[in-house]
Symmetry: C2
Subunit: 334 residues, 2 copies
């Protein structure tokens, strides 16, 4: 059937389908991250941009535009670069906020240079992204990306204040996830449809696809931090637990907790009093309460929602790849 | 003649001329700094926005628009709020970068909350400002403010790397000052002319006015940090010296330095080895080399340039007030 292969490698297939446009996007990124006066800017940016990220967000822009029949002009390339700049800016600021030391296996910019450079170079890239958008000439694109940027920052602030609060609900979690991940996914796919001149119902469908894909993606990430659906302790398992982040499995386990379990979560996440055996206990509770499986079911449901939304878009091979991408995101758990 | 009074109080006259529009701007700022989900955002923003700043930048937008005949609609109000949000965002990020503890006589947000909140709320306000601009419907306004935002961040990064470098030239200083101050002044006045539908030559004149006014303003600020033209030690004198900032008087003194003086600047600014008597010595050298007077002459020349540019704009009482504002900026030195 070839189906398995399609499902397992949709990112590679996306890369190869979009290779020509992505080369143009990468060239534009290198051109626009330059600064005539301040060499520190391209140094910091290159460290992050050339660290081998998957370029998923610009590919989503290009795929959405192509899917909707975009054939000529450069707006989709400008927009893809703008989205990658926003993503890079948020990574720089996130690493300052989280006091991170590593990203993609390399020391973070805030560690190699300093927090100051990360804050200011992030601001520069954010401004650069709006210059790129202005070059598309589309006010609607501007509005979509400005709204997404506000949602991103709002979600991050919400995470800041919700962190370590065991009263955090699933609704708040979804709002945070929209900010952290889904807002830029949905802006990428919606704006791609907009520059292609798609009709409103298709723009909306591509927004819904990106939103649901992003939420599925983040739930899976949060599950993997507890070892995936099987809850086995692997590499880097438990970072979120140690950082006292209220992610979906923990929120579900707290909702179902008995008095002892509630005391455990309040002590370890709420107060941050943890010892070496607590991660193992957390994993046992998550399993006992079915919290991992329940969160996994939510991720699957969001992936299905993404695929359903996509059916409003014109049928094509790219549409099949994007649909497979939604399955692939969840397949990381098996 | 009434002239002296006009010159001494142009800010008050501007406030009273623009009182109606400024009330609308302030209401819009309060409305748009809200966040449905994250109460931390309006808390941090209110701390800064309501601290009693002069609102000079939004007044420049309104004055430029009115000067160019803007009569109806709300674009000038949207734009003024957008410019104030960009200004507030840069203050939040500056205080993180400079590790400041006080602004406008109150503890800074990074001290009252934390660096994280300042970074993320700054990002939120920046995104909000682009939403406001999108509401004006003017792509040219978008482009002007996106360019200004890039220049601001670039100037800040340049300042970061130029700080403590005694080889910093007057050209680099002017680039830094454009980023720190003049870029948002010139964007405010140019974009104000644009929403009013002014012709290109008048847009350009108002850009030049804002640019020259901003540079004069910052040179005066830097002179006041060394006690103004008279070099007497007053309140807060010497902050820039202690922080090893290469400002115009010092750059001029270094260019004219003999061997002993060069060694003094390299030790105190370049290496940061300072003792209690060094500020007094710095002031004496600045005076001896005529550096304070030369920098003051530059500020006066920039103020004159601002007034000359303004002559391209239609004559009106507001134009007289803006012209007097340029004189007022320099008069802070006497």
């Amino acid at each position: 059937m070839g189906m398995n292969e399609n499902v397992s490698k949709p990112l590679d297939r996306l890369s190869s389908e979009l290779a020509g446009d992505m080369a143009a996007v990468n060239a534009l990124i290198r051109e626009r991250m330059a600064s005539e006066h301040a060499p520190r800017i391209p140094e910091v940016t290159a460290h992050l941009v050339e660290a081998g990220g998957k370029r998923l967000r610009p590919m989503l822009v290009l795929a959405a535009a192509r899917l909707c029949g975009y054939a000529e002009g450069q707006s989709h390339v400008l927009l893809a670069a703008a989205v990658e700049f926003i993503h890079t800016a948020t990574l720089l600021h996130d690493d300052v906020v989280d006091e991170s030391q590593q990203r993609r296996g390399r020391p973070t910019a805030n560690l190699l240079w300093d927090n100051k450079s990360s804050v200011l170079v992030g601001d520069y890239l954010f401004a650069r992204s709006f210059q790129l958008m202005a070059d598309t000439g589309s006010m609607q694109v501007m509005r979509i990306l400005a709204n997404a940027s506000a949602t991103i920052a709002e979600g991050e602030v919400l995470q800041l204040t919700a962190a370590q609060d065991v009263a955090t609900t699933e609704d708040i979690y979804i709002q945070i996830v929209r900010g952290k991940t889904a807002a830029l996914f949905s802006a990428a796919t919606e704006a791609g449809a907009v520059v292609a001149g798609a009709e409103a119902v298709v723009q909306r469908a591509l927004f819904d696809y990106g939103d649901a894909l992003g939420i599925a993606f983040q739930i899976v990430d949060d599950l993997l931090d507890y070892g995936g659906a099987t809850s086995t302790i692997g590499k880097n398992v438990g970072d979120d637990f140690r950082e006292r982040k209220l992610t979906l499995p923990v929120i579900k386990a707290i909702a179902a907790a008995d008095a002892d379990e509630r005391a455990f979560w309040e002590r370890t996440i709420g107060k941050g009093q943890q010892d070496d055996s607590d991660l193992q206990t957390a994993l046992e509770i998550l399993k006992r309460r079915g919290a991992m499986e329940a969160a996994r079911a939510d991720a699957v449901a969001w992936a299905e929602r993404a695929k359903t939304a996509l059916r409003q878009a014109p049928e094509s091979e790219l549409r099949t790849i994007l649909s497979n991408l939604a399955d692939f995101v969840v397949s990381r758990l098996s």
